[in-house]
Symmetry: C2
DNA sequence: CGTTACGTTGACTCCCGTCAAGATCCGTGG
DNA sequence: CCACGGATCTTGACGGGAGTCAACGTAACG
């Protein structure tokens, strides 16, 4: 069973690739041991649901590898993506027994899960975890509010360029590449997912991508491979201050 | 000086009107005494700025009375409101030295301020405060994400009816009135502020209010006094599930 | 190949923003 | 008391940006 096999690849906290960024990052050796007692790994393939809004929340988790997303759907089917979960991000909320959003794997994903009740006890008894969770929650809050600005006030073109800049920078720094003109990367998400993230339809996303290509802001190979010949040109289209002030 | 006079009205934590809801709500007697040592009160009149984005964050604070709002403005002037701060809500973020959003009083407001450095130390040393701050941050995160759904996917009419339902319920429960058909209340914010909250222009807000009035969903006296003859009718226009599932 | 998922493009519609003109309310001062 | 000015709100005309519906390409994969 792949789930178990994959889990075993990640069984030691001290070797974990998110050891210094996740909710456990400020735990000392003793606290880590207590966490190891209540943790277990689960894997989900791209596209699989992880939790549904309204479900009982049996566990909370850290993303170890891959990516997932939070979303919510209106009764008539309109969907809005509410968050992107990358390695070290935390899923779930101690102190609440129902899941608040749909959670879905968008790449193959491995989670480090903790049963909720024992984890809640640990949050109460080990300040390090609570403090780290607080800092992470406040970061997420900033991201959510930045996104509110984008959803409420930016044009389709600005939304797309913001997303391209965001993803480009993330991938570049992840691969330890410099963020300079000529930056090149693969879009990890489909046009549909872009639209769900940005509050746009797939057609509008596609048209804006074409327009940006024709205007020389981006170069496109296939539909996923993006090159940004001039970063300043791209940033000038985002509606933000051209200098710094990045989203995440 | 009104600031001092007003401050003295609120000088004892144990008598404070937000004693059991604010960041200090789970503090024991001892912890409260330590907080009292580092707290001070400040008042701002409606319309006054409280903090500017990018400023040094000298203090964090709880809203004691009145209301304030968080917002951010794009270089070209487009403004998006990012949060509404009511009594017991917390302003600022321990662990960060720059203010992330503009904060402005929208009604006369009194803050219970803590100098940031001593407060950060208290967060680290008194688990109760950190835990409470975590719970409050997670609540705010839920509100922000609910608002992302609204900003990204809802129509102008849905946005307006959501806001009316939200404010109506808040005011009714605040005044200990039942939330039933015939609910009547004063809008605490201008058409402009509604637009800033909802990601709409003032003209669209006004037109939608007129349309809702003509459709019999709401009754309006002056421009601020609202009556909702049939709550179910209003909720049916919000795009949400008609039953429960309220925003805050 | 054919099938299927994904992406692009076009034609059209309509919601909402923009610009402009009135209407209403309210505090101030003659 | 009324006149005036300013802020707030409403309404109209108009245009554009994004959604909708539909058709067509393109790539991946059996």
């Amino acid at each position: 069973m792949t789930i178990i096999r994959k889990g075993q690849e990640f069984s030691s906290c001290s070797e974990c690739n998110i050891r210094y960024r996740a909710v456990c990052s400020t735990c000392d050796h003793d606290e880590l041991r207590r966490l190891e007692d209540i943790k277990y790994y689960r894997s989900f393939e791209a596209g699989q649901p992880i939790m549904f809004e309204g479900d009982e929340m049996h566990f909370v988790a850290s993303v170890v590898t891959g990516a997932a997303r939070l979303s919510r759907t209106l009764p008539d089917g309109r969907l809005q993506m509410l968050g992107l979960l990358l390695p070290s991000d935390f899923i779930g909320r101690p102190g609440r027994d129902k899941v608040a959003y749909d959670v879905e794997a968008i790449q193959d994903v491995t989670l480090c899960c903790f049963r909720r009740k024992p984890f809640e006890q640990m949050v109460e008894t080990t300040p390090h975890i609570g403090q780290r969770l607080l800092a992470m929650s406040l970061d997420e809050l900033d991201v959510a509010r930045e996104w509110m600005m984008l959803l409420g006030r930016k044009t389709a073109r600005e939304k797309i360029t913001c997303l391209l800049a965001l993803i480009g920078q993330r991938i570049a720094t992840l691969h330890l590449q410099p963020v300079t003109d000529g930056l090149s990367f693969e879009m990890p998400i489909s046009r549909e997912a872009m639209g769900e993230y940005l509050g746009l339809t797939i057609e509008t996303v596609s048209r804006q991508m074409t327009a940006l290509r024709k205007d020389g802001i981006i170069e496109v190979k296939g539909s996923r491979s993006i090159t940004i010949p001039d970063l300043a040109d791209l940033m000038a289209e985002t509606g933000d201050d051209t200098d710094g002030g990045m989203l995440i």
